[in-house]
């Protein structure tokens, strides 16, 4: 495990040196400015809009950070053949893969933490209580969703044949993961059993990111903060589904030729 952490830390430092990701961090900071503007447009509902758009910005920053991290890493691995250098070292392939997942997650957490700090400062400047405990819990769950997306991105980076394909599949999985819950509930009212079964199967197979979206019930988080099913099951799902995808990716990675 120590080697995994060392790889993750090195990947994190390597990604920090990458200009694309520095620009992404600046965009994440700029998103906070957009949040302030949108909150202003909302006039009397400024606090509500600031918190909702703030969480949306945190989620978006997490998605783009993780996606670009894995695109950059896959590009360096396939085009610059950096993996060949690692192969001569006493490092196992699964440590490299887990290190990539963790390295991207670390960068995502850095960006999201920075955004939350900026939102806190924005709230202080505008006299609004933007970042409360509920907000932090909701952002934390979005980060867990982002960690799961990191595993999904690694899975597609191993399975896909090119960098653009991996990025496209990962993005599609992320988008679909937000729609499947509503699709399942909608199709339950249909009479066609095949459609219901098909949608249900898609719901089980694709990663579900709706479970980590607590901003729809932001005001109710504090009252329910215990290890109840609302919070525990999504964490269990992230561990189990993420573990399954990682196991499949590792199996393929072990047999991949470079």
């Amino acid at each position: 495990m120590r080697e995994t952490w060392v790889i993750a830390a090195n990947i994190f430092r390597q990604l920090l040196r990458n200009r694309i990701l520095v620009v992404l961090s600046l965009c994440a900071a700029a998103l906070v400015g957009v949040v302030a503007f949108l909150g202003d447009l909302g006039q009397e509902a400024e606090l509500r809009l600031g918190r909702d758009f703030g969480l949306l910005a945190v989620e978006a920053a997490g998605f783009f950070t993780v996606l670009l991290c894995h695109v950059v890493l896959l590009f360096e691995e396939s085009e610059l053949k950096t993996f060949n250098i690692l192969l001569v070292r006493p490092i196992r392939r699964w440590q490299v893969l887990c290190g990539r997942v963790l390295g991207a997650v670390l960068l995502m957490l850095m960006n999201q933490a920075g955004m939350i700090a900026l939102l806190k400062a924005l709230g202080w400047w505008r006299g609004l209580d933007l970042v409360t405990a509920d907000f932090v819990v909701a952002a934390g769950f979005l980060a867990v969703g982002g960690a799961l997306f990191s595993v999904v991105a690694v899975f597609f980076s191993v399975m896909a044949s090119s960098v653009p394909a991996a990025a496209m599949f990962a993005t599609f999985a992320w988008a679909l993961g937000h729609f499947t819950t509503n699709l399942v509930e909608w199709t339950q009212r249909l009479g066609d059993g095949w459609v219901r079964a098909g949608v249900r199967l898609m719901y089980w197979v694709t990663p579900n990111f709706s479970l980590f979206n607590l901003k729809e019930n932001l005001e109710r988080i504090g009252g329910s903060l215990s290890l109840s099913g609302v919070f525990a099951w999504p964490l269990a799902y992230a561990a189990l589904y993420g573990g399954l995808l990682l196991a499949l990716a590792l199996w393929r990675y072990e047999h991949k030729e470079f």
Partner: protein, 227 residues
């Protein structure tokens, strides 16, 4: 790996059930699609971003009402559809509901549409107690009972999170009824409490109007004292 897959499916189903029971309101698609629903809102509702979409739709409402060019479409005809969309996306956005009723009922003088909006709001969010005051006020409005409207909404207007439009509307009702002293008390209180620049400007003008009304009333000699 089979165990992991089974465990993941179990966690997913249990998590969805737990969160469905925890949600304060059902998902928007369970409420039936309202007329005039935009594609963006429908896509956002499907994509589990209905709360953010409600905020975006609320900004649309404010932009629509703030643009004087929209008066040309028959006088802000889309007001009901816009506020209805906000409440369909998030029935918990009660501020938008109360504001929409105030705008429709008293600023645009469309009590039927205001009543339609509040009935929908109450159907989707029956636990919101503050809608009752607006419904009562609309009923008084229908009977042209200004005093009834004022009484029904007086306490609501004192709340710090009441829509600014409602606060101004109530103050204007005092002026409309010729209750100059009542208007002065009301607008002075609003001037002290409100941070909204538009409301404060309106309060200063209303106080001037009430003062003029009181002076005019004082200059009319009472009957029986004519020389």
């Amino acid at each position: 790996m089979g165990l992991l897959a089974l465990g993941a499916v179990l966690a997913l189903e249990q998590g969805r059930a737990a969160q469905s029971a925890w949600r304060r309101f059902d998902r928007p698609l369970s409420r039936g699609l309202p007329q005039g629903l935009t594609r963006t809102s429908l896509l956002a509702a499907l994509g589990d971003q209905s709360r953010v979409a409600a905020d975006w739709a609320y900004i649309d409402c404010l932009q629509y009402l703030g643009d004087p060019l929209n008066r040309q479409d028959g006088g802000f005809q889309r007001t009901l559809a816009l506020y209805r969309e906000v409440l369909w996306l998030d029935p918990g956005f009660t501020h938008a509901g109360r504001e929409g009723v105030s705008v429709l009922g008293w600023f645009q003088n469309r009590p039927a549409q205001a009543a339609e909006l509040i009935q929908l709001a109450r159907a989707w969010n029956p636990d919101e107690p503050r809608y009752g005051a607006y419904l009562a006020a609309l009923a008084y409005q229908e009977r042209v009972d200004i005093a009834g409207v004022v009484e029904a909404l007086r306490l609501e207007a004192l709340r710090p999170d009441a829509p600014e439009m409602l606060k101004r509307m109530l103050g204007n009702l005092y002026l409309k009824a010729g209750d100059w002293e009542g208007a002065q008390v009301y607008w002075r209180g609003l001037l002290q409490r409100s941070d909204d620049p538009g409301t404060r400007l309106m309060a200063q003008r209303a106080l001037a109007k009430a003062a003029a009304g009181l002076r005019a009333a004082a200059s009319i000699p009472p009957e029986g004292n004519k020389r």
